[in-house]
Amino acid sequence: MNPRKALLILVPYLWLLALFLVPFLIVLKISLSDVALSIPPYTPTLDLSAGWAGFRDFLSELDFENYVFLSEDSLYWKSYLSSLKIALISTFLTLLVGYPVAYGMANAPDEWRPTLMMLVILPFWTSFLIRVYAWMGILSNEGFLNQFLLWTGLISEPLTILNTNTAVYIGIVYTYLPFMILPIYATLEKLDASLLEAAEDLGCTRAGAFWLVTLPLSRPGMIAGCFLVFIPALGEFVIPSLLGGSDTLMIGKVLWEEFFSNRDWPVASAVAVVLLAILIVPIILFQRQQQRQQEAEQ
């Protein structure tokens, strides 16, 4: 390998090393430590001045206690399961909402598309926190939604939505919708209209052509969208804390409480490492899928 090429490859590797591997190793190390009333709030810390012997002492003090603790306290695995469930359901809901929107965009007249695209991206221009707060205003008992429903006479008592899992689903679907719409739109837009004509020519109805041609051909977009929603939704923290109730169990929230309420950094780090381990699976699947699709397109 010539030096130029080596340098080119080195840059992304250094990048990954600095921004991913090093922080991960620090978190991993903390997860193997014990809580301590000190700054930083864990022990041992690596003292490089003690030399090789100091390093050996340091290693011998690390253990898997925190992981054992995680497996013993049902709160944690219940939170993981509940997060998985919430992430899966909300990914599915986002797909249900996002697909028709993407389909509509892809079939809109050419001159409308940039505007529609703008509208999808527009929410990113305001702070995520403000948008979630806005949902609190909409969903609360005296909120706009209840006021509107009471006004139309559809309900006589205000619905309790805020601080329930429903509010969390709404929040996640709303927040991550663009991540679902954009990849689906990208595949639908590329779709050759003559394929649908060919399907109709061979005896399909419009709906049949959609089912047999459009849907399978937009699968890569759907899969990409689902991963892009599922992965961040699994570790989501802000939405369950602001919109969810006391019974909304999500691992992101647990993590936050361990860190900031309990100040138990080692357990919090262990929670984070396990979360990462869970996420690695879909991330690898996602990578594979992307690679396969690229190969297919060549």
Binding site: D192, D201, L202
Partner: protein, 383 residues
């Protein structure tokens, strides 16, 4: 043209000459506009059952648009299209007994070759074994058995074209629309497939409308050829008539190779022949017009290169004799085309068969030669 136009079959198939025959397809004053662009311009034509109808014309003249109207993807802006005497305007594409092979193939990328071919059959809810048998038959027809399990992106362009052809043939429709079905095939495979198509046509009685850029193909397969230009059909006729008796300069020039000479006609003797005065101080060309034309009419004399004889010696007792020098020779294998410049500067093309090996040829560059043709060899065109 390197092949002569085929002679018509023994039992002459010419329903267009029989007033009792009802056409399968009727275009009645069909106009199609895209915005203010007119793609099909007030077109009226009848196509009969069992015909092999070829559309020939320059790029953008409206061939695909015509097909798409038949398949149901475009509706005429004005006029009607009748299939079996019924207006098909309101019939959706999936309800028409018409299948189309797309110019872009439009193969389903997520399905294998076999699944692509089976697609239309499955829509008819045929039993599984019947579908499999038919798919097999089609694969064999286009010689793609080995590729049945491949996806479209895993086969070559010509193979894709054959899949598209097989897919459109699979349902054995009443009317088959082929938009440049054989363009990507090599000459041998193309000829084979042409004969296959003709055979299918004989066997199934399917009516074919075919778009082609290859005149030879149109000549080989078609019962009739329509030469199109700017959304109009300039001439609709049998291949031999299109070739031998084009009605206009456009058709003569578009089909095959031709020598064109402009001039003014005066009548010659009493046998209906005319003299065409085409250059100051030149012997007029004697030709035979199809209809009598008035003295002084501007006209164009058109003659195919293979009807121009070429010889080294002055031909005795012949008409339409010219002398010139060979400035170019196009060697086509079985034929050679000689470009002969006469003293006034015009270039005539003469074609002759290469019956001898190259080193024994009679003519070469810079040779002085004589050209001549008979009084009935060319056509006199006034359009």
């Amino acid at each position: 043209m390197s092949d002569p136009a085929p002679t018509s079959r023994p039992d002459v198939f010419a329903p267009w000459n029989d007033p009792n025959q009802r056409p399968l397809i009727q275009f009645q004053n069909v106009t199609k506009r895209f915005g203010d662009f007119t793609a099909i311009d007030d077109l009226t034509v009848d196509i009969y059952a069992r015909e092999f109808f070829a559309l020939l014309g320059p790029s953008g003249c409206g061939k695909t648009t015509l097909m798409r109207m038949l398949a149901g993807f475009e509706t005429p802006t004005e006029g009607y299209i009748l299939l079996d005497g019924q207006d098909i305007g309101p019939v959706p594409p999936n309800k028409r007994a018409v299948n189309m092979m797309f110019q872009s193939y439009a193969l389903f990328p997520h399905l294998t070759v076999a699944e692509n071919i089976a697609f239309g059959l499955k829509r008819d809810n045929l039993p599984k074994d019947q579908i499999a048998a038919r798919v097999d038959e089609m694969l064999r027809l286009v010689q793609l058995q080995k590729f049945a399990a491949r996806k479209p992106h895993q086969i070559s362009g010509g193979q894709r074209q054959r899949v598209a052809l097989a897919r459109s043939l699979a349902k054995a429709p009443k009317l088959l629309l082929l938009d440049e079905p054989l363009g990507a095939l090599d000459k041998k495979l193309r000829t084979d497939t042409q004969f296959e198509l003709m055979e299918i046509q004989e066997k199934t009685g399917t009516t074919f409308v075919i778009v082609t850029h290859d005149q030879e193909e149109a000549m080989t397969v078609a019962s009739r050829v329509a030469v199109m230009d700017h959304g109009k059909m300039i001439q609709v006729d049998t291949p031999d008539r299109i070739y031998e008796t084009p009605k206009s300069v456009y058709v003569a020039d578009f089909i095959g190779d031709v020598n064109l000479v402009e001039g003014v006609a005066t009548s010659h003797q009493k046998d209906g022949k005319v003299q065409i005065h085409w250059a100051e101080g030149k012997e007029p060309i004697i030709g035979t017009p199809m209809q009598p034309i008035a003295d002084g009419t501007r006209c164009t004399f058109a003659i195919r290169p293979e009807k121009v004889h070429i010889s080294k010696e002055h031909p005795e007792g012949k008409t339409n004799i010219m002398q010139g020098k060979i400035i170019d020779i196009a060697y086509l294998g079985n034929l050679s085309t000689y470009h002969v410049q006469i003293p006034t500067g015009e270039i005539f093309k003469a074609q002759s068969a290469n019956t001898r090996r190259i080193e024994r040829r009679k003519f070469t560059w810079e040779d002085n030669v004589w050209l001549w043709w008979s009084e009935t060899a060319g056509v006199v065109l006034t359009e």
